[in-house]
């Protein structure tokens, strides 16, 4: 018997696997010890449980347990990787290369580092112009005086500007139409100041899987560190830090049927990668992340990682079959649909599709018993449609008409059949009341019309 509502938004989060909950429970009850307590059995039990979980997480990605740093989740891992590398390697360089389609945890971290650098340069400009003008200079005068003294070509200022600022310069690379990075463009973007490349494993909106092994090989050849936000792909597609030459990788538990609030940063030991911590304190996690360990969540994360590793092959095949059934069911019944991103290089559970001339939010309203997500601006706080779809060159109208389906471990065939019928019905209903669909059917080129933007 089909149960409503149906959850098909497994990129946002996944339900906790009941087997994971089971192993966590003792650590929320009698085994409550602090893993740092070295002199009694409560502490020893907690420490042993954490050690086991660390091994389980390490094994999933081909790492050793000493390379796993537990964090509160992937956002923290991303922040720690980027800010930690930039701070630690500041004397080596300050240039980061990333993609326009990265998660906000990467993009906003990079933007902050750019701001830090800019603020430092602004201070230096004030200082230098003060020297050149031989008086105090106010920020309002900078533009005028900089032109007068030709500051950009001033040897002293240029020397100062090359000193570490605490921030970074960032290159945001475009992706190809299929959502993948162009390796030649990546190599071209590298400079002697490049210290870090941060490119995700799989995209959270379109499920496109990046050529991680090729990126890793290139970075190793160039002597640049490679951080991979691997949140969406791990446990769904094989991922191995050795084979792929990844130096740092962000992982989170709640995208692989574990609890929320726990994640990890993989930090390579050989050759050694160093990071400065963001959180100082008791020196936990080998000084890279202080704070009492969340033992129950770590135990759950570890077990979720073990299940993901053991069941990956069967699960990926099963989910892929369901995804294809969903995709074919929708595209066979409906005209004017567009798949966003590569079909070949894609997570098995992801389908991101635009139903031209049917707006995404109203479609979601029509299928309210099915939890999905949309690239429509109406579903977000900003008025812009999905920046990921826009980076692929997807037309704005189609971005507004996109729906992301995320299938997972607990998705059933019955649910897929139900969703196909429901979505087809609602798209047809919306198109029946869409002036754009009517015009497109009449052969009117919608681009030829002068629209009144508002």
């Amino acid at each position: 018997m089909l149960k409503l509502p149906i959850y098909m938004d497994n990129h946002a989060t996944t339900p906790l696997d009941p087997r994971v909950l089971e192993v966590m429970l003792p650590y929320l009850r009698e085994d409550f010890g602090n893993a740092s307590s070295r002199n009694h059995v409560f502490g020893w039990k907690a420490e042993a449980a954490v050690k086991k979980a660390r091994q389980q997480v390490a094994e999933l990605i081909g790492a050793t347990d000493q390379e796993i740093v537990f964090t509160s989740g992937a956002t923290e891992s991303d922040n720690l990787a980027i800010k930690g590398v930039i701070e630690y390697y500041k004397s080596k360089g300050d240039h980061i290369i990333t993609l326009k389609t990265e998660h906000k945890a990467i993009l906003d971290t990079c933007k902050r580092l750019e701001r830090v650098r800019q603020e430092r340069l602004d201070e230096l400009k004030l200082l230098r112009l003060g020297q050149l003008a031989e008086r105090d200079v106010s920020p309002e005068e900078v533009a005028e005086l900089a032109a007068k003294h030709d500051l950009e070509n001033d040897a002293t200022y240029k020397k100062w500007a090359e000193l570490p600022t605490g921030g970074a310069r960032v290159t945001y690379l475009d992706v190809e139409q299929d959502g993948r990075v162009n390796l030649e463009k990546l190599e071209e973007a590298m400079t002697p100041k490049t210290v870090l490349v941060s490119i995700m494993f799989a995209n959270n909106e379109i499920g496109v899987v990046q050529p991680v092994a090729e990126i890793g090989a290139l970075c190793r050849k160039k002597g640049v560190l490679f951080h991979c936000d691997a949140v969406q792909g791990i446990g769904k597609v094989p991922f191995d830090v050795e084979a792929m030459k990844v130096d740092l990788a962000s992982i989170t538990s709640h995208k692989m049927y574990g609890p929320k609030g726990i994640g990890a940063l993989y930090v390579r030991r050989k050759p050694r990668v160093r990071i400065a911590p963001l959180i100082d304190g008791g020196g936990h996690e080998r000084g890279m992340r202080s704070g009492t360990l969340n033992v129950a969540a770590i135990v759950g994360f570890g077990h979720a990682a073990q299940l993901a590793r053991e069941e990956l092959a069967d699960e990926a095949a099963r989910i892929l079959r369901l995804r294809e059934k969903l995709r074919k069911g929708l595209t066979d019944a409906l005209d004017m649909t567009v798949l966003n991103g590569s079909l070949e290089h894609r997570l098995p559970g992801n389908l991101n599709i635009s139903f031209a001339h049917a707006e995404g939010e109203s479609l979601m309203m029509g299928i309210k018993d099915v939890a999905v997500s949309s690239g429509s601006a109406c579903t977000s706080a900003s008025l812009e449609p999905s920046y990921v779809l826009r980076a692929l060159g997807v037309d704005e109208e189609l971005a507004h008409s996109s729906i992301r389906f995320g299938l997972g471990r607990f998705t059933t065939e019955e649910e897929v059949d139900f969703v196909v019928n429901l979505v087809v019905d609602k798209v047809r209903k919306l198109r029946d009341m869409s002036p754009l669909y009517e015009m497109a059917k009449e052969g009117i080129d919608l681009k030829s019309i002068e629209w009144t933007a508002h």
Partner: protein, 133 residues
Amino acid sequence: MAYSDKVIDHYENPRNVGTMDKEDPNVGTGLVGAPACGDVMRLQLKISDDGLIEDARFKTFGCGSAIASSSLVTEWVKGKTVDQAMTISNKDVARELSLPPVKIHCSVLAEDAIKAAIEDFKKKRAARKAQAS
């Protein structure tokens, strides 16, 4: 985001969806919004020679609030004179549907659609008169 009951009602049972012959001299067509912005409304009004709105039809590409706003105004304008319809404001629409601040632009679009449709009708009539004289 939660929708008001009235928005849901108009979304699930939209009134007066359809297309009129835009070549008909008594039909005024207003097409407002832009696909890139995620909302396009087309409102068509059948207006008698003495300026009474006899019928209205809409088609809308947009979110639930945009569909509800256009559905609502088709109900409101029917039976009104052109001058009366011109006084319908976006605030009336937003209040009736309890639209949240982020959806106010949907009601603005509905008001614009009424004005654009009446404008179109007036232009047609002026062109007809010019031809006749």
